[in-house]
Amino acid sequence: AQSVSQHNHHVILSEAASLELGCNYSYGGTVNLFWYVQYPGQHLQLLLKYFSGDPLVKGIKGFEAEFIKSKFSFNLRKPSVQWSDTAEYFCAVVGTGFQKLVFGTGTRLLVSP
């Protein structure tokens, strides 16, 4: 069965600090990987996705994520966060050919101005 772990449940950063949110998954086959973001009061939005190819993917708003197959990881990064990045971030994985997108429990990021 697929599973996703997000080890950081709450992260507090000051503006301009660098961000890295961890995501590890458990699945032996080929996977597609996603990061979603939920800003306060808004719906869940796609931040970035990985299907194949270059393991470093770039998303919206300056976010990027790196797929490291040997570590079963897909960590999210941003070099310099802004107050507007305050949100909850979800990592998700689906084994190719499966219907079920499996989510991590989310990481709440608070960026103080």
Partner: protein, 114 residues
């Protein structure tokens, strides 16, 4: 472009009352549709998915049911709500080529059962 609608946005219901949440998708045909529940600190849990009219797959046993009466309509229901049914319910649809599908989410319905 494709859009996904959910209503109502917020709902407060007494225990034991029925429930009907609606999700509709515009701008696409024969989409795969999904119902998720989001609970604080627990991420998103897949409840049901549907690959076509009348085709429903249930992921977890529960007090809820789903139906797909039309191609772009997906309904989440309950005959008698429980306190534990409170939560944030999200509908999603899946887009993309085979092997490169992405799910996109609606605005959600916040349900409070009292």
């Amino acid at each position: 472009s494709q859009t996904i609608h959910q209503w109502p946005a917020t709902l407060v219901q007494p225990v034991g009352s029925p429930l009907s949440l609606e999700c509709t998708v515009e701008g696409t045909s024969n989409p795969n549709l999904y119902w998720y529940r989001q609970a604080a600190g627990r991420g998103l849990q897949l409840l049901f998915y549907s690959v076509g009219i009348g085709q429903i797959s249930s992921e977890v046993p529960q007090n809820l049911s789903a139906s797909r009466p039309q191609d772009r309509q997906f309904i989440l229901s309950s005959k008698k709500l429980l306190l534990s049914d409170s939560g944030f319910y999200l509908c999603a649809w899946r887009a993309g080529l085979l092997g490169r599908e992405t799910q996109y989410f609606g605005p959600g319905t916040r349900l409070l059962v009292l």
